[in-house]
Symmetry: C2
Subunit: 245 residues, 2 copies
């Protein structure tokens, strides 16, 4: 029974998130339905990151076990055919050993968060970036972000429904790059708490607009209290970009 | 009667093009309706580039004459408010002299054409790039493009309904840049013939996939015959990026 590793790209906009739910179409359900249409099997698809509603992926990794043995390219093309018209695409398929687990074997996850700081409404990037209508000081945001890198108790940046056993995480990277009105925040860690990236971005936005100083980020982190940090940034700007094994 | 210069961004997807037409909503109509909602006037909006159906703009320039005198930022915010829910945004407004004409004063136009060369279908970039499902040799495309730069008779790259008086144009720049599976073609000229960029891109794609040699582009140009060049690339990947005055 071969195990297939699938690398997925998707537009999170029309979905209730990665995970199958009763209240609407998930990416998982769309993928499992396409696999069923291809080979008549209904495997459980395991993903590296359970992206929330509206969150996008450029490199989500999923594994499935199928009785059917097929060439990786055949699986990719057939599943993509049956995924239409959903905005989900299988970029690559590899056959992996049965010790490979998309979620538990992952050594790191990388996310990107896109902000557009301008007064004018969104057109082409609608639902794909966070529109912030005030100017942002990216240097101050960078200074604030530096306080979050490293091994910390991230309780202040953790959603109240987070199921992780511990709030201790090591944030390997939190970079901020500006190109004109566009600000991109890149985060990398072995794993993240629920809403951690969006809560860090929502906090750094307060620094960028001058409501908070960079040092306030350190104080929010030290408080170990969700109400001490900033609001959750919208899902629109968040992309799961890569998973390392 | 002040003349306002508006810089626009839009997603061309839902429109019949820039120009007002009986068969559907144009960007011009959406803009003129929003201006009417703002000030009760129905000016004629003149654009630097009459983009076709499905073609996008990051920096289209338009001018309108209004009786109403208002601060540029007030005009921008009010027109943007009334443009909702259309994917059109006024990025900037400036008050200009009555000798300024968006179309006739333009010294150059710059376009960008985005290709994604991969087997997997589009998700996030759907309707915003041209998906080419075969690998493309960007070095060969660059060599082919070099034959088009300069002052030439572009009859081979001109749509049959082009209204320009002459097929002679000076193409100042035709650059090709690859980043992974993404290929971006940038073109700059004082002005372009109808479909010129899309016809050049459709031809360079033949070179990229190896069906044509770079030298075939020079032969197509020399033929001065539309049927000698490649097909018209789809509008999805084309962006009017900037207009210079």
């Amino acid at each position: 029974m071969p195990r297939y590793k699938l690398t997925l790209e998707y537009d999170g906009g029309p979905f209730v998130g990665w995970q199958r739910q009763a209240n609407g179409l998930s990416v998982q359900e769309a993928l499992e339905d396409a696999i069923f249409a291809f080979c008549g099997e209904r495997p459980n698809a395991f993903a590296a990151g359970r992206t929330d509603a509206g969150v996008h992926a450029l490199g989500q990794v999923v594994h499935v076990d199928l009785l059917r043995e097929a060439e990786p390219d055949t699986v990719r093309n057939a599943v993509n055919y049956h995924l239409k018209p959903h905005p989900v695409a299988v970029l690559r398929v590899e056959i992996v050993g049965e010790d490979f687990h998309a979620r538990f074997s992952a050594k790191w996850r990388a996310y990107r968060y896109r902000i557009l700081a301008r007064r004018a409404p969104l057109t082409i990037d609608r639902r794909h970036v966070w529109l912030v209508t005030v100017p942002l000081d990216d240097a101050a945001m960078r200074e604030g972000a530096a306080h979050l890198v490293g091994h910390h108790d991230f309780t202040s940046f953790r959603s109240s429904i987070c199921q992780a056993a511990s709030p201790m995480k090591t944030l390997d990277l939190l970079e901020i790059e500006r190109r004109g009105e566009a600000i991109e925040i890149r985060a990398k860690a072995r794993s993240f708490l629920h809403h951690q990236v969006r809560n860090m971005v929502g906090t750094l936005k307060l620094v960028g607009e001058g409501k908070w100083t960079p040092a306030d980020v350190a104080r929010a982190l030290a408080a170990r209290d969700r109400s001490a940090a900033g609001p959750t940034a919208p899902p629109d700007g968040l992309y799961l970009t890569e998973v390392g094994y």
